[in-house]
């Protein structure tokens, strides 16, 4: 199995790395880079706990092979806060009690960020569609939607 040398930007840092092609981005982030903020839920793209942004688009990192991030930008939950300040979405999630067990939260935040970066003024239907790939077993989604709405204001 040949290793691939790839060049990528992860959380605003440039990496040139040799990777095994039979690893998913999820495994690579958690086990090689220690970025355990991205969660492993179903590993088959049906829960969204592993959601990260790839060139600004929300993707299931469990369904991306590591070499496929070559030449691309990855943003994980660890990269959401900037210059020691939380992202407004993170503040809002706390204020609206949108975090219960917290397991879906990193994925939810990344999907919400992907939405607001492309569409700064979504309606409720667009918000719910944007997070439709992220399952939450605790909150019933209401607090999450309200938290996102708050940031839009």
């Amino acid at each position: 199995m040949n290793r691939q040398t790839i060049s990528t930007t992860i959380n605003r840092r440039i990496y040139t790395i040799d990777v095994y092609p039979n690893q998913t981005l999820l495994e690579f982030l958690r086990e090689e880079l220690g970025f355990t903020g991205t969660k492993c839920g179903c590993e088959i793209g049906e829960c969204g706990a592993c959601t990260v942004l790839l060139n600004g688009e929300a993707v299931n990192s469990c369904l991306v092979l590591v070499p496929q991030i070559d030449g691309k930008e990855v943003l994980t939950i660890e990269g959401l806060a900037k210059d020691r300040k939380l992202h407004p979405l993170q503040e809002s999630f706390m204020n609206y009690d949108a975090v219960h067990c917290g397991f879906c939260t990193p994925g939810m935040l990344m999907s919400a960020k992907a939405l607001l970066d492309k569409n700064p003024n979504p309606d409720e239907r667009e918000i719910r569609t944007a997070i439709s790939g992220n399952l939450c077993r605790c909150t019933g989604y209401v607090q999450i939607v309200d938290a996102i709405k708050e940031v839009i204001k």
Binding site: N2, N22, G45, C62, L63, L65, P67, Q68, G133
Partner: protein, 284 residues
């Protein structure tokens, strides 16, 4: 996952050369939303090579030329649902793409992968068959043109040879007075696999009578086909609840004549009829 070599060709020539060399020991990856799940299975067949075609710029894009829409296979479902060309000339395809999986899946999954994986529940296929799509397969030995409805043998099996690459999907633009729809029934509102689906197109004359119809159910038959028996009921008629109900019942009968009565028939029999009726109502 079991180990394999990874090749990322920079041209179609390179890709078809690799496929010619490795044949069925190679698998093509684009979005990976089906393949990676397959590779993770404990009893997955060992592969020699994965061929990542995502760097092939020639395989991206949605374009229209005189009378046709041409879609390149690496078009993601997100691109399909956002395409103004599809909104204008093939709305049902855009609708179908918009209900696949989730935003994360749609950002990666491609129309080419949806077709070539050939799962019974593939959502882009019924609309493409209703649209009369043609596909192009390319290999080192040359190029083949096929009608999409001829491409499939059975679930998960197409007529494409191991060394062939899907390079283009094409269909005629729908005329301005044609209406189309796609309805998907899944176990949930998102992140669901189609249990049943219906792609429908109705073409009208200037008096509001139906002159042509296309009805293609999904996840209902062994291989996708237009249900011409139901389409014929609609010709030269004006839309009505009674007419569409009749067409729906005909589709249900045809489905049972193919599939026999099985555990799911008690549910699917009335439901496919209703879905067809609703799809046709959306085309009225």
């Amino acid at each position: 996952m079991k180990p394999y070599d990874y090749i990322s060709p920079k041209s179609i020539e390179e890709a078809t050369s690799v496929l010619a060399e490795y044949g069925s020991d190679a698998k093509i990856i684009a979005g990976g939303t089906d393949l990676i799940i397959e590779l993770r299975r404990p009893n997955a067949k060992a592969l020699k090579v994965i061929v990542d075609i995502t760097k092939l710029g020639e395989l991206t894009g949605i374009n229209s030329s005189n009378g046709s829409v041409v879609i390149k296979p690496l078009s993601t479902h997100t691109k399909l649902l956002q395409s103004s060309i599809l909104h204008q000339h093939a709305l049902l395809l855009s609708s179908a793409a918009s209900v696949i999986g989730s935003p994360q899946i749609r950002n990666r999954g491609t129309i080419g992968g949806n077709i070539m994986n050939a799962a019974t529940c593939a959502d882009t296929v019924p609309p493409l068959i209703a649209l009369g799509a043609q596909v192009v397969l390319q290999s080192k030995s040359g190029i083949r043109h096929l009608s999409l409805s001829d491409l499939f043998i059975k679930p998960y099996q197409t007529k494409a040879k191991a060394d062939e690459l899907l390079t283009e999907i094409q269909f005629p633009k729908l005329p301005v007075n044609a209406k189309s729809s796609f309805i998907k029934l899944g176990r949930r509102n998102a992140l669901s696999i189609s249990r049943l689906s219906v792609a429908a197109i109705l073409f009208y004359d200037n008096n509001g009578k139906i002159i042509k119809a296309r009805i293609v159910p999904g996840a209902a038959l062994p291989v996708w086909r237009r249900v011409t028996e139901a389409e014929q009921i609609l010709i030269s008629e004006k839309p009505s609840y009674k007419l569409f109900t009749e067409a729906g019942q005909k589709v249900s009968e045809v489905m049972i004549s193919y599939m026999g009565r099985r555990w799911s028939t008690e549910y699917k029999e009335p439901v496919i009829a209703t879905l067809v009726r609703r799809a046709l109502e959306q085309c009225a």
